[in-house]
């Protein structure tokens, strides 16, 4: 994985000391909150419901064990013994003291991490496929390209004060595991007929109060023009994005209002101009970055079979692993969704354990998924049983990936100042209702996502079943959505009808799955059945 050079380290260290001085001035009173607030947000420090919250960037979700161990140590030293992995592949701490924040950033800098641009109206952490560099279905490892974009977007002077926040995802396979089309810019690395690598640009997607699926504005940008084209997309947005209205300021609104054709025309015009300015980094820089992402020293000639005689292990293998491109290896996923647990939360001990296990079993690498789980990308099949046993002993082995138990949930009203309703208790009740393994297995793939407000941090628009918490005169109420998807077949969920109480929404989800089971045909997932039979049978069961 990428290692800082002297410039990276100097930038991060300098930023820590700058923020230390800003924090001191705020506490001493020479810097008012109105002036300090944008500065702390640029360093990932929010003020939330109970305390300050620090969001730490995990570039494209990739971590080494030393970094992961530090995340566990920070949870113990400065927080309350746990961290929350997020849908942006980052980690958040919920109980931070302002006076500790500079020391935390200094600790992070020692392991080449920071919280820069995890908030504010700038380009946020670049996200990617959690199986990058390991899966057989990618045309190339997307991480070097994500890293190039990270370097371009970090401290980019033109794009630090955009109309609104800006999120970019990069993938390199047709199976979209990063919700790419629901980003401000989604980039899919592709090959043309000549076998050359390029980038398909999808621009103007997003969730929030106005969900939109990004249209493809250019199916093939040559890879040596990746940054120049990205710059053109951002420039048009920066020039014409709605700064007068926060709720209409995202690029999706601009693309929608201008129309895809006109936005694309302007981007292409700007792109032609930028090509004359020679802003693209030399390919040698991309090659330098790529050298950090070479394959780990895989063994060859390994047996490619697994002993599945332990039924619990077999269940976990079926649900929580994915094929690796190297024979004898497998991708394994530790679930942060124990039955009745808080989605995405991990204790300091669990975080440190996963660091140790990555060192022992996965060439020192981990990935954070946007579904709030942790991936061990390169595990020898011969080691998989031992890895599972150690995860199992730490309550990290729930066999539920991509099932109704693998719920994405935002922090909701339990932690977030923006939320209108609690998300986590609903997730807990649903996971308990569907806890039995045979029930999960019978239902199969069913992605359920919960947001506690219209901002959609819990991706409810993209859930096969989505739940949106709203405030009904001070009482929590939950709307149900069906038919969303974040994959290659991206679609937006539709609201079923009137909302439900906290317990009522759990019953509604169960009725919904009952309709699916009654109507499904051979091999159909929930989403397939919904798309075939439509909303009517579900509404009948829910409200009839």
């Amino acid at each position: 994985m990428y290692r800082y050079d002297q410039y990276d380290q100097a930038m991060v260290d300098t930023r820590v000391e700058e923020f230390r001085d800003q924090t001191r001035r705020r506490i001493e009173g020479t810097l008012a909150e109105e002036n300090f607030r944008p500065l702390r947000l640029q360093n990932g420090l929010y003020l939330q419901l109970h305390a300050y919250m620090l969001r730490v960037a995990v570039p494209y979700g990739t971590l080494n064990s030393r970094q992961m161990r530090m995340l566990g140590d920070i949870a113990d030293k400065y927080d309350r013994g746990y961290g929350h992995f997020t849908t942006r592949q980052n980690i958040q701490y919920n109980w931070i003291k302002l006076e500790d924040a500079p020391d935390i950033l200094a600790d992070l800098a020692t392991v080449e991490m920071h919280a820069i641009q995890t908030s504010g109206n700038c380009i946020r952490n670049i996200s990617s496929d959690q199986y990058a560099g390991a899966t057989a279905d990618e045309i190339v490892d997307p991480r070097p390209y994500a890293e190039l974009l990270r370097q371009w977007s970090s401290f980019h002077p033109e794009f630090l004060h955009l109309p609104r926040k800006f999120k970019i995802a990069v993938i390199a396979s047709d199976t979209d595991r990063a919700a790419m089309k629901l980003h401000d810019i989604g980039i899919q690395l592709v090959r043309n007929e000549a076998g050359e690598i390029g980038a398909a640009f999808y621009v103007g997607g997003g969730m929030g109060r106005t969900p939109m699926i990004a249209p493809c504005i250019n199916p093939f940008v040559p890879i040596d023009q990746l940054i120049t084209y990205s710059e053109a997309c951002l420039r048009i947005y920066n020039r014409y994005g709605r700064r007068d209205n926060k709720y209409k300021a995202r690029i999706k609104i601009l693309v929608h209002e201008l129309g895809k054709e006109e936005y694309t025309r302007q981007v292409e015009q700007e792109f032609a101009h930028l090509l004359t300015q020679d802003i693209e980094p030399p390919l040698a820089e991309l090659e330098r970055i790529k050298a950090h992402f070479v394959d780990p020293p895989f063994e060859t000639g390994l047996a490619d079979n697994l002993d599945l005689s332990d039924p619990d292990f077999a269940l976990w293998v079926k649900a929580n692993t994915a094929p690796h491109r190297q024979p004898g290896y497998i991708i394994a996923v530790a679930s942060l969704k124990p039955v009745g647990g808080i989605p995405g939360d991990a204790s300091a001990d669990q975080i440190r354990l996963m660091a140790d296990l990555a060192q022992e079993y996965s060439f020192d690498e981990l990935r954070v998924t946007h579904a709030q789980n942790i991936v061990f990308p390169h595990v020898r099949k011969a080691d998989l049983y031992a890895l599972w046993q150690k995860l199992d002993a730490a309550d990290l082995s729930t066999a539920n990936i991509d099932s109704i138990g693998d719920i994405i949930a935002c922090p909701g009203l339990d932690y977030c100042t923006l939320a209108n309703a609690r998300s986590i208790p609903v997730a807990q009740k649903i996971s308990q209702r569907f806890a039995a393994h045979d029930r999960l297995d019978t239902i199969g793939e069913l992605k359920l996502k919960i947001s506690g407000c219209i901002n959609a941090c819990g991706h409810h628009h993209a859930g096969h079943i989505g739940i949106l918490g709203v405030d009904r005169k001070g009482v929590e109420n939950y709307q149900l959505l069906l038919g969303g998807s974040e994959g290659a077949d991206t679609s937006l969920g539709q609201i079923t009808g009137p909302g439900f109480s906290e317990d009522g929404i759990v019953d509604a989800v169960e009725k919904t799955t009952d309709v699916y089971l009654a109507h499904r045909q051979e091999g159909e997932r929930f989403l397939d059945t919904y798309r075939r039979i439509g909303m009517a049978p579900f509404k009948e069961a829910l409200y009839g």
């Binding site: 003020l47 109970h50 339990d414 208790p425 001070g474």
Partner: protein, 98 residues
């Protein structure tokens, strides 16, 4: 009644105006009547509190209870982590919030 809340500047902890200073316990909160803006301006300027605001509440047999669930969660702590709330041993605390 009208009560005042905010976060401690240095620690971020939720605090409530008790008439003379800031308390972590909502039960200590006092009715400030028409004086909310004046008190908040003074206390913010003195850096005793950050992100402060006034909320509606009622004095009940169980103590001061903010009108909205958001402030009740602020007053107690996250409902999903009773161990991290101000009343970790009180089984009735969650009912007070909901």
């Amino acid at each position: 009644m009208k009560i005042l809340t905010g976060n401690d500047l240095k620690t971020g902890a939720v605090i409530w105006w008790d008439g003379e200073a800031w308390s972590p316990h909502v039960d200590d909160a006092v009715d400030v009547g028409e004086h909310a803006a004046e008190i908040l301006a003074r206390e913010e300027a003195a850096r005793h509190v950050n992100a402060s605001y006034a909320v509606d509440a009622a004095r009940t047999a169980a103590g001061v209870r903010p009108a909205h669930i958001k402030e009740r969660i602020r007053a107690l702590g996250p409902t999903v982590r009773p161990d991290l709330t101000l009343k970790p041993a009180d089984p009735e605390a969650l009912n007070w919030v909901i």
